[in-house]
Symmetry: C2
Subunit: 209 residues, 2 copies
């Protein structure tokens, strides 16, 4: 199938949404935890978390336009300057998915979706107890993306919580051990099976292909 | 394990790089195809491709700072205003990985890594023949990320090539059918196993958790 830009523009809205949301490949499934000024916790699934740099450790996430519906996560992050990122694992896919329903401002998704709040001393934003790998971040910058009125929210890692047995000998996370899942489109979840580990690529050490 | 910001800052450089590159969860593995003004094709693996919006279909990718080493992909995209995104599948993981070696400007990774250039009439940037899902994009914007001197490159989809049998009844890509893989950290590859499909989440239709 060859879709041109015109085909995509003329596509029925839901079809386009499902197709275009799935063309970038597998996306990370993460729960973003925040807290409002009034102290109400909030949890929302995001598939747009992206690594920006390691030193300092900077992570980005894309927030949709603020125009049509209230964006609680965006509001809380900009007000409180803090948020958490929690990996979705295979045992909490359904709960994590339903955080995307449009709950009222006064309703905590932790309660409605049966996930458990967890806190670190000195850090306001809530973590997800059921998640195996999680981090607390402070807001560094909010970069407007003029092309479609979205926003790149950037945070730096203040706290990183990793299970003892989840790193390998090179200090990398084994995503099978954390039972981390991926997402495609808006609502299809994938488990991960580690298949290949390759060395750092050097011109003078090319393998036979 | 609880790492604080200070622990991360004080970590040995390679350990930090491997750890922090793997904390966002699974990342999409994509090959970015470009062509230089001199007509030399270029191919580079990126794990930072991110969906920005569906209408118009906008895709972003993060380019590392231009300071220390030449960034051929960034140069070609800004000069030629075009690039392709090609899913890495399980049969080309090794070739795709070695495009990250620092080849000279005059060397095409298609040649050194044994991947095949493919072109669409009227579109300059090269596609990867061996990839099953690929798209051609024109540059829309280049957004500087001041926090760490990286850049968000934004393109709009002009051509989208999807295998006939890879979409399901809802027009979503089945990433098992395209044999698409994910990446964690800098050099660990994961195959994907579709495990759960959930409906659009509505407050009035919550399941029993």
């Amino acid at each position: 199938m060859h879709y041109t830009k015109e085909d995509i523009t003329n596509m029925e809205r839901t079809s386009r949404l499902l197709l275009i949301n799935s063309i970038t490949g597998i996306k990370p499934a993460n729960l973003i935890g925040t807290i409002s000024e009034a102290g109400i916790s909030n949890l929302a699934i995001f598939s747009s978390v992206v690594h920006l740099g390691s030193n300092p450790a900077l992570i980005g996430l894309i927030s949709r336009p603020n125009g049509d519906v209230p964006r609680h996560t965006y509001e809380h992050i900009t007000q409180q300057q803090q948020f958490t990122i929690n990996h979705v694992n295979s045992t909490i896919i359904t709960q994590a998915h339903y955080t995307s329903a449009k709950f009222d401002r006064d309703t905590s998704e932790f309660e409605t979706c049966k996930l458990t709040e967890e806190y670190i001393s000195g850090f306001k934003a809530p973590f997800v107890k059921e998640s195996h790998l999680k981090m607390g971040l402070t807001l560094v910058d909010v970069v407007p993306i003029a092309a479609n009125n979205t926003t790149l929210i950037i945070g730096t890692v203040e706290h990183l919580l990793v299970p003892e047995n989840a790193t390998d000998e090179h200090n990398k996370i084994d995503l099978e051990k954390t039972d981390t899942v991926g997402i495609s489109g808006l609502n299809t979840y994938y488990e991960l099976k580690k298949t290949k580990h390759l060395p750092h690529a050097r011109v003078e050490e090319l393998p036979e292909f």
